[in-house]
């Protein structure tokens, strides 16, 4: 008796699969998308799907249109209640948001899992996300634009000397304590190499490294690029922060005054604006 039930159940499942083989593909593309990550928000707008984005994270500020959208918390503290109330039909989440993914699964809301890695993954994600929302052609076109612009930067600096560069993206203001720098893995490292620099921390297989002053002295970079974003550097403090490096007088970058403080969110958001970041790296390392 039980064997008959099992056989019948299997046949039912198989017949359903045969009868509705393309159900997932024919599902309508999402119309109410919530993006929890600034990078994917920018990708969605770049591929022309901005009008379908109804909610963004607390940290989204680009393009300007996102300022009028509903905020649904951040990576560590998503506002699940508000998110569910918006009745999204797709939520773009970061891979580490395990609890949010479990809650979305329980609520029956589809999600797109995202994680940022190296530079090629940015356009890879654009294409994958575009396919997921039914905008494969537009996403591919946007990704091609980004790739072409990055290639133009690479071509512009090709054949020039590649200064040994330290890429700093955080330290204690007014001092050289707690220097946090980009190491040999990740999109910032890839961008630096593309823009014609040699990463002095290329041998460290991590996305970031906390540096002691001893290590800066030993690695002796020819150039130091320091990234500032958000409200972390007032214009009147730029020169003061640059002078902080004077404490390390033997470092070639300090002696030749090749210390560049760059400000902008594009350096920390691995989205389509990464092209502007690459251009600025190339500008400071090789001139305009």
């Amino acid at each position: 008796m039980s064997r008959r039930i099992v056989v019948a159940a299997v046949l039912l499942v198989v017949s359903c699969a045969v009868a509705f083989p393309a159900r997932a593909q024919t599902a309508p593309p999402p119309r109410r998308i919530v993006s929890m990550i600034p990078a994917t928000t920018e990708m969605l707008f770049a591929m022309g799907a901005g009008d379908r984005v109804v909610g963004v994270s607390n940290y989204d500020h680009y393009p300007p249109e996102v300022e009028r959208l509903t905020r649904v918390g951040g990576l560590a503290d998503p506002n699940v209640e508000r998110l569910l109330a918006m009745k999204p039909d797709l939520v773009v989440v970061y891979a580490s948001q395990q609890e949010l993914k479990a809650q979305l699964t329980r609520a029956g809301i589809p999600f797109y899992d995202y994680v940022h890695r190296g530079l090629p993954d940015i356009t890879g994600t654009m294409r994958s996300l575009g396919t997921r929302i039914g905008e494969a052609a537009a996403a591919d076109a946007a990704a091609r634009r980004v790739e072409a612009q990055l290639e133009a930067v690479r071509a512009r600096v090709a054949g020039r000397p590649t200064p040994r560069t330290l890429l700093v993206f955080g330290r204690e203001a007014g001092t050289l304590r707690q220097i946090n720098a980009s190491a040999g893995v990740g999109f910032l490292h890839d961008l630096l190499v593309l823009a014609g620099g040699t990463d002095v921390l290329a041998d460290i297989g991590r996305q970031s490294a906390m540096l002691s002053t001893e290590m800066v002295l030993l690695r002796a970079p020819d150039a130091i690029i320091e990234l500032h974003y958000g409200q972390s550097l007032a214009a009147e403090n730029v020169e003061r922060e640059r002078r902080v490096w004077d404490a390390l007088g033997s470092v070639p970058a300090v002696r030749s005054r090749r210390i560049y403080l760059l400000t902008g969110d594009e350096f920390v958001i691995p989205g389509p604006r990464i092209v502007r970041a690459a251009e600025q790296f190339a500008d400071v390392l090789h001139g305009r």
Partner: protein, 339 residues
């Protein structure tokens, strides 16, 4: 077989100072010579090489010597504060964190990081300045608690009051962290792990002012702490102005803690394990315990920092991780050894 009579107090003090002083001096001399890369002492002191071209000298004088000196000061301060708090509160678990001074310093530092405070004094970074101001705020609360003692509140009230202040400040710290963005949160977390890479001598010189005041206070305390460890009444009976001396002890220990935390972050366990280890060697008398703890605390933190900056070279571990990894098991050993 006749037992040898105990050495006179002055001789024991001299022996203790020489023994622990030798350990601390050895640490201060050896630590700057060791690091993730060898430096040539001949080049370090070769005046024929221009300063700007002398990487060995820069590593020695900018990267290593200041942090060794900072470690010595911070280790000595936290150990001294631990001794005083343990005697004063009659509690072997008391530490520089117990009355909330360390939490006050942490709150100041995190507020500076989260709100991008732009206050630079005497060449100190805004984080160091805010941290010291935070510790002074907590010191004010400690002082208010000590006035409750004047009205007859027992030591236990001071201890419980301090624990409550620490809990309250921890809640405010959590709120400030909640307001921080990701990068600021990362920097906050990193600051809590402690760092002695002070880069210049300015923060060390700045810390010397409050530390000198603290040392002046500590110098008055050995006999008083011995008597207070027994009971306040016995101290009173021997002519000690208990309330006044308790206040001096509280303020000195709090000031030392604030200066140390603003210099290096809240480095844990030094203030607990160093006094206990020293008591095992020299006994409970504060005439020996205080200077021996200062010297051993300095050597201990220099050693921990040496491990922190070499064990995962070319990267380095935050020193607070090393002190906790060493301090935790040592503390457990001390705890169960006594039972």
């Amino acid at each position: 077989m006749p037992t040898r009579p105990p050495a006179p107090p002055r001789t024991r003090l001299l022996r203790t100072l020489l023994g622990f002083g030798a350990v601390a001096a050895a640490a201060i001399v050896v630590a700057p010579l060791v690091g993730s890369t060898p430096v040539s002492l001949a080049r370090v002191f070769d005046r024929a090489i221009p300063w700007a071209d002398n990487i060995d000298a820069q590593i020695f004088f900018i990267a290593r010597l200041p942090r060794v000196l900072a470690a010595a000061l911070v280790g000595a301060s936290l150990a001294l504060a631990g001794v005083v708090f343990q005697a004063l509160l009659k509690n072997p678990l008391a530490s520089p964190d117990t009355l909330g001074v360390s939490a006050g310093a942490s709150l100041g530092a995190m507020a500076a990081i989260t709100f991008d405070l732009d206050v630079s004094v005497l060449g100190l970074s805004p984080v160091a300045v805010a941290s010291f101001v935070g510790s002074l705020g907590a010191l004010g609360i400690v002082y208010a608690l000590s006035t409750a003692r004047r009205r007859g509140a027992p030591t236990m009230v001071l201890l419980l009051g301090g624990v409550a202040v620490q809990a309250l400040l921890s809640a405010v710290i959590a709120f400030v962290q909640y307001l921080a963005d990701f990068t600021q949160t990362y920097r906050n977390v990193r600051w809590v792990m402690g760092s002695l890479d002070v880069v210049s001598y300015a923060p060390i010189v700045a810390a010397l002012a409050p530390l000198t005041l603290s040392l002046a206070g500590f110098a008055l305390l050995p006999r008083v702490l011995d008597l207070l460890s027994v009971s306040s009444d016995s101290a009173s009976a021997r002519g000690v102005d208990v309330i006044r001396m308790e206040r001096i002890a509280l303020i000195s220990a709090s000031l030392a803690t604030g200066a140390a935390v603003s210099l290096a972050g809240p480095v844990s366990f030094i203030g607990i394990i160093v006094p206990h280890l020293v008591r095992l060697i020299v006994g409970a008398g504060h005439r020996l315990v205080l200077p021996a703890s200062a010297l051993f605390g300095a050597a201990f933190l220099i050693g921990c920092d040496l491990i922190a900056r070499t064990i995962v070279a070319p990267l380095e571990l935050p020193v607070g991780i090393v002190t906790a990894i060493i301090g935790g098991p040592v503390f457990l050993w001390l705890l169960f050894r006594r039972r």
